[in-house]
Symmetry: C2
Subunit: 159 residues, 2 copies
DNA sequence: TCACATTTAATTGTTCGCAATTGAATCCGC
DNA sequence: GCGGATTCAATTGCGAACAATTAAATGTGA
């Protein structure tokens, strides 16, 4: 077969598909890391990691919600969220309380400091926009495509 | 200001930008996780995690390379790669050897088993393609856009 | 009512991902 | 040569991410 040797061989479609450059998943994976690195210095000023920032974004839209609800919005499970939320509570940005109606449920609420942090966070998106060197319209179009892809992937998982 | 209270308030552009739905970074982040979950059962059969699969993809294209070279291709550093490569070595898929020319450098080479695994891996991309429910053309177009975004983000980091 | 299934968070263990540091090897200017 | 800067991989420590399990609370059917 000489698949690794000196002899020339016409690359098959399967060969091409295994090329790193051709993989959309690697494109998405490496772009996620690039975003993370761009966010890092901005979020350091807020005392947040990127996943913590996502949790705060979700809570600024709606708080007093169960861990499960937060997990569904962020596509994360309790194994990830429980320790992360404990760190946010230690930072006094949120408060965790058992629901009285259903004691299995832990409700997450913002503290005054948690609410207040939103003002400081408003500067973040425009810094990212600048770093992306794109227009808002371009980014939103891309975002819609990527979300559509994500939702199709998640649909397969749900089967 | 009543930013959290009952009074209605016209959402500003900054408010809109903080919405989770509007964030391309969250779209990318959550899509990366969705890919990971789709890959998981496929890669389990190969005995690889997703990052390990990426390393193998890179090595199938070119091996006998330094850790640093691998890191540049995958956008990862030695803190991530060193333990990952040790696990691949333990699985006998790669061999790590110090370069004789420059003893700081560790060269990564595929073992026969490492080469052989490529044949089994050929089935993976088409399964992903099916899960994405897209045409190859659509995916490649998206990939190019995302890579362009990644490269602009990385360019800002390099400044 | 009571057994049994389901739901919800928390926990445990493994693997990334990265910042910061370390230590060895190499390079470079003088 | 020699000394300091640089390069490279490894290490340490922390924070995700997730599978699998646990434990408690709740729901359901006979």
């Amino acid at each position: 077969m000489d698949s690794m040797g000196i002899m020339a061989r016409k690359p098959t479609a399967a060969d091409q598909a295994l090329r790193l450059d051709n993989q959309i998943c690697f494109a998405v994976y490496s772009t996620a890391h690039a975003f993370n690195r761009v966010y890092k210095p901005l979020l350091d000023r807020l005392g947040l990691t990127y996943p913590q920032y996502l949790v705060m974004l979700a809570l600024w839209e709606r708080d007093d919600v169960a861990v499960k609800d937060l997990g569904e919005r962020l596509f994360l499970d309790s194994g990830t969220l429980t320790p992360l939320l404990k760190r946010l509570e230690a930072a006094e940005l949120i408060k965790r309380t058992r629901s009285t109606a259903d004691e299995r449920v832990v409700l997450i609420a913002l503290t005054p400091q948690g609410h207040a942090l939103r003002e400081k966070a408003k500067a973040v998106p425009q810094s990212i926009l600048a770093a992306s060197d794109c227009t808002v319209g371009e980014l939103m179009a891309m975002k819609d495509e990527i979300v559509a892809l994500r939702d199709r992937l998640n649909a397969v998982l749900g089967e």
